[in-house]
Structures are given as structure tokens and as C-alpha cells.
């Protein structure tokens, strides 16, 4: 843990990347329905921002074009992965999350049965964290999506990673599940870097959405301890 903190000091002082995996740029846009984008294409503008940030900031370009064959690097870390929501208002909120590949590879989607209930959520989260072990660079933040559809719950799990450490879901029942899961995850013994210890996760954040009566989708997305995200409103 001391070395992780020392790393953050060096990265801050010398303005170099915390981790060499500077991620794919995940960008959440919340576009006010009264706002109108003029003078160009919104997606192109986001990608231009990513391009400049990764080139000018000496960040590693980690995106390859054709994933299953040639895998040639796009050289500027574009395209970003953009999720846009239309919301009330006249502003544009931009949330950027550079997401490393090691933790992202540990993602899970489980289509649970509707009668499986709360205990099956606990069992599946614990099983996943246990299997993932050191791979996701613990201490991790565990993002959990429950409900919705397959793709909706994955996005919920990812958005759950954006929450401030220590905050809980406003719903008391969900917050209770978060607290119980965090306590149990930290009993698994994985610890920082997986070398053994009682701090495996810093938070378990859950987002919930109504689901079809035939299903209870569960998604798990991990953030490594290098949890990088920033937001701005324009």
C-alpha cells in the first residue's frame, strides 16, 4: 500500500501516468435537451479531445483497430467509447473514465433467474471477486449492476464505479447490500495486489434498474486501485 501511495506522489509531482495502461477512454455524455451543438459533430469533438489528451499528455495509446485479426494500433487512442444520455436542461456534462484493460477483462454478466434473489447476488459477487483475485489490481472498486437488460446492467455496473468513495446508493435496501458485500469481499483474504490481506475492495457500489419478470441480470465491472475519472459541465 505504501508503494501505491508513493507511486501516486511521483505521478502527481512529475505529471506522468499513474499506470502505463492509460486505458480506453470511456466517455459518458449527459446532453441537456435544450442545448444545441453547433459547428461540428459531437462524437468527432470528443474523439479530438481524446486524441489531443493522449498525444500531448504522453499517455499510452492502447486501442487497436481490427480486434480479431490485424490489431493495428490507431496511434491516438481513438475511438472513445461514448455513452450519451439526453437529460433535461441546457448544459453538457462530460465524464471521462480512462479504463485499463486488465480490470475490464475481469467483467462478468450473469443472467440470473427471477427467483434467485438477494443471496444469489451475494454468492455471484463473492465468487467473481474470488476468481478475479490479483488480476484486477486490488484493492479494487466493485461496480455492480442489477436488473435492466444485458447491456443496461453492464452500463449500470460501469457507472457505479464513478461514485465517490464512501457514498452509498440512496436506496436504503441497496445501501445495506453494498455494506454487506464490502464486508464479505474483504473476508476473502485476497488483499492488496493479491498477496493476502483484509483490504481487497475499497467499495462495492450497486446500481439497480427494473427488469423483465423472466430475468434478473447481474453485471460486475471492476476498477483497479488506479480509479481515474473526471467530470466537467459546459
Amino acid at each position: 500500500m505504501a508503494q501505491i501511495i508513493k507511486n501516486a506522489d511521483i505521478a502527481g509531482k512529475e505529471q506522468i501516468a499513474l499506470c502505463q495502461d492509460c486505458g480506453t477512454a470511456i466517455v459518458f455524455l449527459e446532453l441537456g435537451q435544450e442545448a444545441h451543438i453547433i459547428g461540428g459533430d459531437l462524437v468527432c469533438a470528443v474523439n479530438e479531445g481524446v486524441r489531443q489528451a493522449y498525444i500531448d499528455g504522453f499517455l499510452r495509446k492502447s486501442v487497436v483497430k481490427q480486434p480479431f485479426s490485424t490489431r493495428v494500433n490507431t496511434e491516438d487512442n481513438t475511438p472513445a467509447i461514448i455513452h450519451t444520455d439526453i437529460v433535461p436542461g441546457d448544459r453538457l456534462k462530460i465524464i471521462v473514465m480512462p479504463k485499463g484493460g486488465g480490470a475490464e477483462n475481469m467483467s462478468r454478466l450473469v443472467m440470473l433467474t427471477p427467483t434467485a434473489g438477494r443471496q444469489s447476488i451475494i454468492d455471484n459477487v463473492l465468487k467473481t471477486v474470488d476468481e478475479v483475485g490479483s488480476n484486477a489490481c486490488p484493492p479494487v472498486i466493485v461496480g455492480v449492476g442489477i436488473g435492466g437488460s444485458a447491456e443496461k446492467t453492464m452500463i449500470l455496473a460501469k457507472k457505479a464505479l464513478l461514485r465517490k468513495l464512501g457514498d452509498h446508493n440512496p436506496d436504503a435496501e441497496v445501501a445495506e447490500l453494498e455494506k454487506e458485500l464490502l464486508e464479505k469481499v474483504n473476508m476473502l483474504g485476497i488483499g492488496p495486489m493479491g498477496y493476502g490481506g483484509r483490504t481487497t475492495a475499497l467499495a462495492v457500489n450497486i446500481e439497480v434498474f427494473p427488469s423483465h419478470l423472466a430475468s434478473m441480470p447481474l453485471a460486475i465491472n471492476f476498477s483497479c486501485h488506479s480509479s481515474r475519472h473526471k467530470e466537467a459541465i459546459i
Binding site: C19, S62, M187, I190, G191, G196
Partner: protein, 185 residues
């Protein structure tokens, strides 16, 4: 206990290393990750030789961030090792003596580590800025077009690693977890 080892690793060094040992490595290590591993094995399958003499060497699974002006290398921490597992036994057979990465290896690699008397170290995932300070020189050895995934030769000084798998069958991830586990034993 912190040991210091001057590279290349000798058989005596490896025999003296035990799971959980913290070690500072100084000397030459090679860097290769996913794409370079795939290409090395393709090269061997064509009957050609590898772009560097692998016997007795260490491979660090890493793809650095670009160096800023005046830096030797950018952030340079480990990537997850299991992705190299399909390629690793072949390299161990050719005399690769050590690997540095993070995360658990598959049983086939663990068997090969014992069989060929090699060692698997981990270093601190996500501490790339800190680790870059132990790297004194970098040269691209092969596959330059792979960019961050090119094979590099590093000269390191007191590069901090921890022994995960020794030749005696120890596994720090299993042993560490067992020690602290209080649920679902």
C-alpha cells in the same frame, strides 16, 4: 527480507528464492507482452530463431507509456500474466528463467516452472510511475511496429519484485489468501 540479485539469474539464485521473498533485481531484463509473445511463437513454429537469446533471461510483461522529454521511459508497470500462459511453456523449454507480471498463472505454466527450474515474480500493478524510476536504459530489440508491445531490453537497478511461484511449488496468491481468509474456506 529483501534480497538483491545481480542478473542474469543463476540456478543457485533460483534455488535460493522462496515464495514471498522480496527481491531487488539489477541488470538486464527483456520486455514482451501479448502481441510479441504470439509473434515469438509464430517465429519458432516457422523454424526460425527468436530475436534475442532467451536462454537464462527474464521477460517482463509490460507495455510502457511514452517517455516525456528527458525521461528514460514512461510509466512502466506490469500487465496481467495469464494472457501469456499459452505461449510460456515453450519459452521456458528454451531456457527462459524468469517472468515478471501480475496475477495467477495456469497449472500448465506452474508445472513448467517446476520442470524447467524457473521463477515467477510479480511487481506492483498500477505503480508504473514508481517502477519507471528503476529503469535506467531502454532499447527496442524487435517488432518495433508493435509500438508499446515491441520487445525491449531494459537495464534496471534495484527493480522491486516479489516471488509468487518458486521451484518448490509455492504460490503466494494461494498462501496469502489462505492466511487472511475468514469466509468460504
Amino acid at each position: 527480507m529483501q534480497k538483491k540479485i545481480k542478473l542474469p539469474l543463476t540456478d543457485e539464485d533460483i534455488a535460493g528464492l522462496k515464495t514471498g521473498d522480496n527481491v531487488l533485481l539489477s541488470g538486464v531484463i527483456y520486455v514482451a507482452r501479448d502481441a510479441a509473445h504470439k509473434r515469438m511463437i509464430e517465429t519458432l513454429n516457422k523454424g526460425q530463431s527468436l530475436p534475442f537469446e532467451i536462454s537464462g533471461q527474464i521477460i517482463y510483461y509490460m507495455g510502457p507509456a511514452p517517455a516525456k522529454p528527458g525521461q528514460v521511459i514512461g510509466s512502466a508497470g506490469p500487465t496481467t500474466s495469464y494472457r501469456m500462459d499459452p505461449f510460456t511453456p515453450r519459452l521456458l523449454e528454451l531456457g527462459l528463467k524468469g517472468m515478471i507480471g501480475k496475477g495467477k498463472r495456469t497449472p500448465i505454466v506452474l508445472d513448467a516452472i517446476k520442470k524447467y527450474k524457473a521463477i515467477y515474480f510479480a511487481t506492483i500493478g498500477g505503480a508504473g510511475a514508481l517502477l519507471s524510476k528503476s529503469i535506467k536504459k531502454v532499447d527496442i530489440v524487435a517488432y518495433k511496429e508493435l509500438g508499446a508491445e515491441a520487445i525491449r531490453r531494459l537495464e534496471v537497478e534495484d527493480f522491486p519484485v516479489t516471488v509468487i511461484n518458486d521451484i518448490y511449488g509455492g504460490d503466494l496468491y494461494d498462501q496469502g489468501k489462505a492466511k487472511y481468509r475468514i469466509i468460504g474456506k
